[in-house]
Amino acid sequence: MRLPASQAGKLAVFTALALLLAVLPFGTEALLGRSWVRVIDGALLFSMLAIGLNVVVGYAGLLDLGFIAFFGIGAYSYSLLASPQFGLHYPFWVLLPLGAVVAGLFGVILGAPTLRLRGDYLAIVTLGFGEIIRIFLVNLNRPFNLTNGPQGITLIDPIRIGGFDLSKTYEVFGMKVAAVHSYYFLFLLCVIASIILSLRLENSRIGRAWIAIREDEVAAKAMGINTRNIKLLAFAMGASFGGVSGGLFASFQGFVSPESFKLMDSIMIVCMVVLGGMGHVPGVVLGAILLTALPEGLRYVQPLQQSLFGRVYVDPADLRMLLFGLALVLMMRFRPQGLWPSKRREHELKGEA
């Protein structure tokens, strides 16, 4: 987005954007109904995940196909410590940072043995890692019941800020503010914080080191970059974004089960990053919003098929997957740099013909 040059213009655009974001959930609810506000909430969570994965894939160039595992780890570490499962009810300001740390640790655990791997090998190992985590989540109800197995964990505490319980409905200036709205603002804050953090990282010494590794690892090493530590840092940092959004997801849903952390979800986050534009934060957020919202739009295809052909030929969920697959193939063929790429990445991906 190109901002007007003058300061006043910048301020005007900023204020307009802030106002728009502030009324967005209420406007959406009035126009399209509450389910779409939930969709927006989901899009925000996925934006955070995509921003996290972008650190690993976009900046450092390490393709991670098991990213949803960190989301799961964050969600479970929140759920176990704020639910009747063990009778523990820690507050969110302890648990969200804890989720970031735990997910970050797992990021290092995944990163350490795979440091020497590149490209496709790394993709397969991370994919395996994601599946291993899910298999453990499903099976760790024995010998002692840690994760409650496939049933998952229910009655997870909502986030409470002071006496304000985000899951309850309040009246503010005559407007009903329900859970979906309160969480919208919380998620929005977290996404904005993630964007700022991520942009600052990109321009930092570490960020430039990641980009150097992505472009040529040997050269980066020769320039004195400690590639081992810097790559581990990419895994840990990316994972911690996933951990925080996992915690938010658990508190928002009030329920988690291994079903939410499947390989397809990992691939979907990769799609978001690739479609939006690897390494470019605004592009990645765009990708996350598009890929969360468009499948919801496909719901309307079902009645359309019904009225056109008299029966439903393609289940919307399958249609979504078919379009995902097609989008990945077509993007790599015709626009590998993504819909909204960063300048540098655009040259890189188009140049090597």
Binding site: G61, R116, L117, Y121, I124, L328, L349
Partner: protein, 307 residues
Amino acid sequence: MDTLLQQIINGLIQGSLYAIVALGYTMVYGILELINFAHGDVVMVGALVTYTVFSFAAAHGMSAGPALVLAVAASIVVCVPLGLFIERVAYRPLRRAQRLAPLITAIGVSILVEYAAALIWSKQYLSLPELVKPTPIQIGGASTSDLQIAILLISLLMMGGLLWLIKYTRMGKAMRATAQSHDLAGLMGVNVDQVIAFTFALGSALGAIAGVMQILYYGIGHYLMGFMLGLKAFTAAVLGGIGNVQGAMLGGLLLGLIESLASGYIGDLTGGVLGSNYRDVFAFLVLVLVLVLRPSGLMGQKSGDRA
């Protein structure tokens, strides 16, 4: 002792199927340095075509022999063009692209094939009509069947055939040359595009037969069955040394054995704490361990920073 023998037999049979699928991965990787994610799904298509043929045969009172021949022929006729189509449309335009692009394309193709199969065959678990009735055979207290022994023998036969093809035919020589360098092979008069297409066709044909045997062995097909199978076959290829044809065979058999023995004995070893539901974890553990300790695999040459 009986259980040990039984686990070994089970492991060898599943392992031989892994090995054949692994050949598809390793041949393509050897030539293109590309993980063809969709290969497992090609195997799935072969299995589900068999399901269709068998359903048709059962409805028309066909006997097992002709139905089996028809199933093998049909799955090859479907899978080979599918493999060629995937290569032509998805991978060939990206042959000189940056490394990440073909990999993402491969994932996309895999999703496309899976959900196209879901449209054709539904998302149900499909149980194969029981046309082929295996005769049980007892070997030293362990039970197997003529079907299982046939699977093992056919797999070994196909591996032998492939080795012969690669070692002694003109096309095999061209494949080896192309694997070393596309450009130089081209300069020597090898039609590189043709060789790569042939590799995909060959891998898909092997995959089709593997699909037929897989569904005969388990009796159940599913549109996502190719995913785990493909992943394990890839693990087998890595275990043997990716790009190495004998390695893929050895890796497949070994992985089958490891999986079968590990999931058979893990309950006893850990006092019942961990059960055979951790079966799928072993393949990944093997994969990670091989990549960390010996990335070139059991039979691969040390080639520096390949991995």
